[in-house]
């Protein structure tokens, strides 16, 4: 019977994989680590990403300095004490001396910094920033907003503009988002976006954990010669297919465990008292797509990875030679950055249908946009075709090289093999 062997191989590997300590640890530890990272970050950082630091505000104009101080107190980074502020009146002549006295503190932490806002700024808005880390955009942005407000207010008040108008002029714009759908419009939420990116990350972790060790497993079976006996009972295709199927099953089980909390959110939205801006609103479609595409992606990568690994007699050789192939695993992940700024940009749209990148990009788009149905279907079809090719090529390479030991095949030989029927 053709599939008895396949099933036996599958069963054995499932047992080996699902019951392995590594799997249990990875599956259970992963969510803990993820939440741990989020928790630690939240503890260190408020939502704007500001880091604990000392900030000196200096000016040669006492009025200006007081206005800035009053305005800064309204900022949450300052009122919560993330930025510890010190305000100092310093004349332009004494500034160098003052800076020298604070140099040690500025050097002590690269998030520390000193701003000098001369009275002249009321005319030219020129401000100086001293720090070891001029790339701290978060600090620069929040300060420049505040300085701008203060300078505008002072400037216009000297022109006799009424206070109420002034407040209007310096107020920053607040754009509230509403997602428009066929049923109407509702207040937007970052919950879906977070879920989309979270899924992309989990996918990355899972693919690494499932695909990377496949190489060592194949090479071990090859070098300890166990494969010769196996191949008298099953053919190489069945052997490889059984192994791949077992790993795919393991991956799906793992992903299911990881996404379990999310299913609870989606199925029982009432059970979660989430603030409206974190509301998660996802249909089952995204999960169907996600798992289907995940299975295809795993099949593809495992077939390629397993096939190529069989050519080598040691994991070192394999890792060295296969780094271009491992790019197939890592590079597509970076495609998610194409969607960060705008999930609906046309590059993202293409990447969400391109094989492999679609694994990461499409879920984010599905979570945040109303994507026409044909797009996920194209993504699935494209991956499906590639899976078919990968299995054909991987299976062939595996079949030919799994029993060949000693000399490694040359490029020429390799392509000759691929062309063989």
């Amino acid at each position: 019977m053709i599939n008895r062997g396949l099933f036996t191989v599958y069963k054995m590997h499932i047992k080996q994989q699902l019951l392995s300590k590594a799997f249990v640890v990875a599956t259970l530890l992963m969510p803990v680590v993820m939440f741990g990272i989020i928790f630690i970050q939240a503890a260190l950082m408020n939502i704007s990403g500001a880091e604990k630091s000392h900030i000196y505000i200096t000016s040669d104009d006492q009025n200006l300095l007081s206005s800035i101080e009053a305005q800064l107190q309204t900022r949450s980074e300052v009122s919560k004490g993330i930025y510890k502020m010190e305000y100092q009146l310093v004349s332009a002549a004494a500034f160098d001396e003052f800076l020298a006295s604070k140099r040690a503190d500025i050097l002590a932490n690269s998030n520390n910094g000193l701003f000098f806002i001369p009275g002249q700024a009321l005319d030219d808005k020129a401000v100086r920033f001293y720090s070891t880390n001029l790339g701290n955009q978060i600090l620069r942005q929040s300060m420049s907003e505040t300085f701008n407000q203060v300078l505008n207010r002072d400037h216009f008040s000297t022109l006799g503009v009424p206070a109420a108008d002034l407040e209007f002029a310096v107020k920053t714009i607040d754009i509230k988002g509403f997602t428009v759908s066929e049923h109407g419009a509702e207040q937007g939420s970052v919950g879906n976006t977070a879920v989309g990116f979270g899924m992309a990350f989990l996918l990355m972790f899972s693919i690494m954990g499932i695909v990377m060790p496949f190489s060592a497993a194949i090479i071990e079976e090859k070098t300890n010669r166990a494969v010769e006996v196996l191949l008298t009972s099953v053919n190489p295709k069945q052997l490889l297919a059984g192994k791949i199927m077992a790993r795919v099953t393991t991956g799906v089980a793992q992903m299911f465990v990881w996404l379990l909390p999310l299913f609870v959110f989606v199925l029982f939205p009432a059970s979660m008292a989430l603030p409206p801006q974190f509301q998660i609103d996802l249909g089952p479609g995204i999960f169907l797509f996600f798992f289907a595409n995940y299975v295809l992606g795993l099949c593809m990568l495992l077939a390629i990875w397993g096939g190529f690994s069989a050519m080598f007699d040691s994991t070192q050789d394999a890792n060295q030679a296969m780094w271009p192939i491992s790019m197939l695993m890592f590079v597509p992940f970076y495609a998610v950055f194409a969607v960060i700024r705008n999930p609906a940009n046309s590059v993202a749209e293409i990447l969400s249908m391109t094989p492999l990148t679609s694994l990461y990009v499409m879920p984010v788009r599905l979570a945040t946009l109303a994507v026409p149905l044909w797009q996920p279907l194209v993504a699935l079809a494209a991956n499906g075709i590639l899976v078919w090719l990968a299995i054909k090529a991987g299976g062939k390479i595996y079949r030919i090289s799994i029993l060949a030991t000693g000399q490694q095949p040359s490029m020429q030989q390799f392509f000759k093999w691929l062309r063989q029927p």
């Binding site: 300890n224 166990a226 010769e228 006996v229 008298t232 009972s233």
Partner: protein, 303 residues
Amino acid sequence: MNALEVTNLTKHFGTFVAVDNVSFTIPEGVIFGMLGRNGAGKTTTIRMLMNIYEMDAGTIKFRGNRVGQEFRDRVGYLPEERGLNTKMRVLDTLLYLAELKGKQGAAVKDKAMAFLTRFELDTRTRSKVQELSKGNQQKIQFISTILHDPDFIILDEPFSGLDPVNVNLFKDIILELKAQGKAIIFSTHLMEFAEKMCDHIALFHHGKVLLSGALAEVKQRFSSCNVVLHYEGSIEFLRSLPYIRKVQDYGNYCGITIAQRNDSQRLLRDVLNHDVVVHKFDANDISLNDIFLSQTGAQGEAA
């Protein structure tokens, strides 16, 4: 009826011909020895039987039909390069390999335990294969070869790396399997084993089969004008006797080729006259090794 018929089997590796137009037949219920020096092409032939290598030409028929999966399910195969998944447990390994051959359930497990007990490994069922010594790993692999009750057993150099006690244990089991009516192929470069155990042989040399058939017939074909002498003392004088063609001395026994059949009487007299103690004098007998040497004209590694 023949269990296996191999005709015109050929295998190239690049330009090198590893197996060159090889034919032989194996009747049911015999022990068939594939003999030859290292590199003669035995393993390559066996791998083609097992469909591990694709043959370039030739046919292999099992009970009249071309070999396929059915054949491979009925075969127990012990490869020359032993190998098990070292991270699996002993009993799991045995059951997995048996299941791949379509045998599972309590009966197989009981049988596995019986074999493990016989090999004094019954306390190691939960050990990982890698925790066992090389010799014990070989035993596990041997058990896995026969556990699924194959009709046909192929053992590639089964005795290599075994201590004498285990060689005997393997031999006993092989003979038991033969008594159960199973056909057994084993390959070896050790002529002595073959001589003691085989019913049929094929002599491989440089990828060709020089001769094959029932051991008794082969021997008969080569034994006239040949004497096997088991002795104590010095037989150097033999080389100067005019009717002696050749002496192949193995220390305590030797093969002697004489000019004519009836020279054997003179030979016995001369040997006794030179105070050589004769333990056994076998006229018209020949050792497999002598046949091998006479056929290949080479100095064998066999002793």
